[in-house]
Amino acid sequence: MPDPTHIPTTLDDLALEVRAKNAGPFWLTLDVFMPDDAGYRVADALITPDLIARLYHVAVESVQIFRLPRLRVVKVSFPRPVVQGSLHDRDMHAGQHHVPLANLPVPSGRHP
């Protein structure tokens, strides 16, 4: 029987840090820091342009992914959907935009 109280493991549970920030007023960037090579492989396999397009409602062609195995980092950048500081921008530094990616459940077969 599956445990109904089981909370799925998220990328945030496995990562050292998942962070988001402006990269200038027109870009948003996400950095996923993993603790070891096994963790890096999980993040590397999980994070694709399609996933980011779905989580952040952006065009898949606009997503740039940088894979840095030596640092165990996957970095994602895309143009800010809302220009910084405009009326409908609710996150001036884009500092809270890590949450959709950080909260992503990691399928149990993929845990390191």
Binding site: A23, G24, T29, L71, S86, L87, H93, H97, V99, P100
Partner: protein
């Protein structure tokens, strides 16, 4: 530029903090000077806090904090006989920002009896100055923006060009002890002195990128300053707080910080390339970096920043704790906007497209909107109503029409008027002009200094 006669074997750079006015312990400076600093470099600005500071020409930092930091820095630089370089003065690097910092420097020097020559480098540009270059096809967009048009340039309240190291080097050669630069790339401030003393471009620019935010490249980003030493083959870096450490990971990771691409970074004169950089721990808190390159560009470019007024805003704030409303919050929010739009049309005669509103439900989904993965019913919500119109009095009038709705709007199923928790009296606050960054472009230049104006003052005692 004349070649230095005695080229030093290395150049030490002291960065006391990521932002002038953020503060640092005095011991930071003592330690950095004792390590043999050849320059103190500190950033005074950023675009990160939004377009207001450039649009309005106002500083984000408070004068007392900037004065406190400058007092320590001016004394230390003067005692050690080394230059002090401050960049992006007054947050956005407008001419007013440079003059504001220069005034503070002057009063500190007069009080302390310091004899220093101050160079102010102005980087503000007028639209009329850039229009001929636009017509000549010498202004190009950066991704994701499109080509620039004249109207966008002319809408800008302020335009600045981000200088490289060259105007700073020129000011130092002219005899400046203190350089107060308008908008400059964060890296130019730390790169200027090593480059003018003949250090190689690859390690110098990479070092300058790593130190730009002070302690951000250490294991304790709140620890404050860092010290870096550039030489013929690389650079070494350590935190100025003895309890903090630089590790190969903390240093390498800083190339990720606030950059879209972690491998390459464009400067006016070329690009920093760090793909082949090696990070080696020299001990448990010092890191050596080698293998960084700088690739000169065929065309020297200056990045432009400009902010334009998008409207005038009024903000109102109310709290909701009633579970009945919270259970149907999206329905309530949609009803509020619909009712307000009707009232504005009826009472003020304004069509929907001539004003704009952003209704933010803090505690529900204000920050992430549709992207929020959590859709649970909140316990309490803060309702922020942000209205934008072409004149302040219209934004205020719309907000006054919204007031009874923020106070009493019931759900259609309710047969009584609820009363919500307005946060202040009045419930609305006029925000004045609101701005947007509208330039994401570079301009081709023939000389790296041609867009910038330098004013060198005599010593304060002269």
């Amino acid at each position: 530029m004349s070649k230095p006669v005695n080229r030093p074997r290395s150049v030490g750079v002291l960065v006391p903090t990521g932002m002038l006015g953020a503060g640092f312990p005095p011991a930071t400076i003592t330690r950095g000077i004792s390590l043999g600093a050849d320059v103190i470099a500190v950033d005074g600005g950023s675009t990160d806090s939004g377009p207001y500071y450039l649009g309005a020409g106002q500083a984000k930092t408070t004068e007392a904090a900037v004065r406190r930091d400058l007092r320590l820095l001016l004394h230390a630089a003067n005692d050690a006989g080394i230059p002090l370089v401050v960049g992006s003065c007054g947050t956005s690097g407008t001419d007013a920002g440079v003059r504001w910092v220069a005034d503070i420097v002057r009063t500190v020097c007069v009080e302390a009896g310091l004899d220093v020559r101050v160079a102010q480098i102005f980087s503000e540009l007028r639209a009329e100055q850039l229009l001929p270059r636009l017509h000549e096809g010498r202004i190009h967009p950066l991704a994701p923006s499109g080509p620039l048009d004249a109207a966008t340039l002319q809408r800008c309240e302020h335009i600045v060009g981000a200088m490289g190291h060259e105007p700073i080097v020129q000011a130092l050669h002219a005899g400046a002890d203190v350089v107060l630069a308008g908008r400059a790339t964060d890296t130019a401030l730390s790169a200027a002195v090593p480059l003018m003393r003949g250090m190689p471009a690859g390690p110098t620019w990479h070092m300058a990128k790593i130190v730009e935010c002070g302690g951000q490249c250490t294991t304790n980003p709140r620890s404050g300053g860092v010290f870096a030493r550039v030489d013929e083959t690389g650079f070494t870096i350590e935190p100025l707080d003895p309890t903090a450490a630089c590790t190969p990971t903390s240093v390498a990771a800083h190339m990720l910080y606030e950059t879209a691409n972690p491998n390459t970074m464009r400067e006016p004169a070329g690009a920093i390339e760090v793909t082949d950089a090696r990070y080696i721990a020299l001990d448990d808190r010092t890191v050596r970096v080698e293998g960084s390159r700088f690739e000169p560009a065929d065309q020297h470019t200056i990045k432009l920043e400009g902010a334009a007024i998008t409207g005038y805003e009024t903000v109102s704030f109310a709290g909701i704790r009633d579970p009945r409303i919270l259970g149907s919050l999206d329905e309530w929010a949609a009803l509020l906007i619909e009712t307000l739009t009707e009232r504005v049309a009826t009472v003020l005669g304004l069509t929907a497209g001539s004003w704009d509103v952003d209704l933010r439900l803090y505690g529900h989904n204000a920050v992430l909107g549709d992207l929020d993965p959590d859709t649970a019913t909140p316990r309490e919500v803060g309702v922020m109503l942000l209205v934008s119109a072409r004149e302040q009095q219209i934004a205020t009038a719309i907000s006054k029409l919204a007031n009874p709705l923020l106070l009493h709007l019931p759900l259609p199923s309710m047969h009584y008027l609820p009363s919500f928790a307005l946060a202040t009296s009045p419930a609305h606050t006029d925000r004045g002009a609101a701005y947007e960054f509208v330039l994401n472009h570079v301009v081709d230049v023939d000389s790296p200094t041609e867009l910038f104006r330098t004013h060198l003052t005599e010593p304060a005692h002269a």
